[in-house]
Amino acid sequence: MLADVLALATKDLRIELRSPASITGALTLGLVGLVVTGLAAGPDTARLRAIAPGLAWLSVVYAAIAVGERLDRIDRTDDAFSVLWLSVDDRRAIFAGKVLALTAVLWTITLALLGAAVVLLNVEPSPAAIALVPLAGLACLALASATGLVTGVVGVSSQRILLLPVTLLPLLAPTLLAASQATAALIEGRLDSALPWFALLGAQAALFAGLGLLVYESGVALE
């Protein structure tokens, strides 16, 4: 099954990378979102710095929804999904491949965004901030699993571009919160107060991914 997961994730990433505007697009989306949100929040750096982790993660959540919907649409256009469904031995591979590809894209975006936020806002990160890398990975896994799960069950519908954010934003609010809190703690070097948030993120990733695997195994994702 692992080979299938890799083959499927590679397929998604290849299609993704082949379109020239793609990853850069997602990245720019995140950056622009950050800047515009900052603009909307007004020009007070101290205030901005306080809300920066939250805003950065909010941009990542928006990017997760946009990229997730895109990766899902790759399969839904022209009914490629049916072909996959009949081809793979273990259908959980379809979900796992999708989540893997999405996690990879989001992780890249997140690290770039956090870096940009640190530079733009003149934050002095503590050495503990290196733990942001695994933190971002975990949070992106949670985001990707939730997005994969919900896009899978919502399926094709002309409303999905609205339905997905409507459902995902509140569902991901705890993830957003945990990721922001942990990020703030790590930047200030409070490793111990970041740990519970790590645990929370892990639990969320496990919940979303577990449910996704279950749902795909039993054929929920189709039609």
Partner: protein, 227 residues
């Protein structure tokens, strides 16, 4: 070495009905078919052919009734390939990439798949992204992929639409070979003399009802045309 379909492969539909809201797409349809047969599902536009194929493939669940695939080792479900009205292709991948991905997932030999691309007359575009191909070429790629996946059963929805003469000849030949290799082939088409001449079993649908289901016998072609 291509995989040999189990000789006892069987598809059974028992009183299968499908409703979309209040539209009756299929109504208490029965079918039995087994390895090596070519079943033709025939009927006017909107009579339920595509719904029939999707339900048989397990891509749509019936509202009532039962679909059973039997035969082969108990442990694994039979491998079913389905080509619907939609192509199932990724605009950003080339035919070559489609076939190698499919070969990896279906655990078949990628070189066989490429040979098929050649036979179906699409080798010249193997490196072009599918989004840029013409309608008929896309159709060929979908069909080649289905045949290359070494399926036990293969379900084709209007396989000859959009193809030119060379394409039609190649696909008819592939269908013949598939039945000879013991695969179960189900083809849907509104009306096609070329397919009717080959079919061992014809199911005539009208408004979701089976008008008549004709097992192999001499004279069935006349019966259809008389009805």
């Amino acid at each position: 070495m291509p995989h040999v379909p189990p000789a006892d492969l069987r598809l059974e539909l028992r009183r299968v009905s499908k409703l979309f809201g209040t539209t009756v797409a299929l109504w208490q349809v029965d079918l039995e078919a087994s390895a090596g047969q070519l079943v033709l599902v025939q009927g006017a536009n909107g009579s339920g052919k595509s719904t029939f194929l999707r339900i048989a493939a397990g891509l749509t669940s019936p509202t009532a009734g039962e679909v059973r695939w039997a035969g082969g080792p108990r442990s694994s479900r039979p491998r079913v390939a389905h080509v619907g009205h939609a192509s199932g292709l990724y605009d950003g991948l080339t035919p070559f990439e489609h076939l190698t991905l499919s070969a990896r997932l279906c655990r078949t030999d990628p070189t066989d798949a490429l040979a098929l691309l050649e036979r179906i007359g699409a080798a010249s575009v193997a490196g072009e992204p599918c989004g840029r191909l013409s309608a008929g070429m896309r159709r060929r790629i979908s069909l080649a992929r289905a045949f290359a996946s070494d399926p036990d059963a293969i379900l084709l929805d209007e396989p000859l639409a959009a193809l030119d003469e060379a394409g039609v000849t190649a696909v008819l030949k592939l269908i013949d070979e598939a039945t000879q290799a013991g695969r179960l082939v189900v083809v849907a088409a509104p009306s096609d003399a070329r397919l009717r001449a080959k079919a061992g079993h014809t199911v005539a649908l009208a408004d979701g009802h089976v008008l008549r289901s004709l097992p192999p016998s001499a004279g069935w072609l006349e019966q259809i045309d008389a009805g």
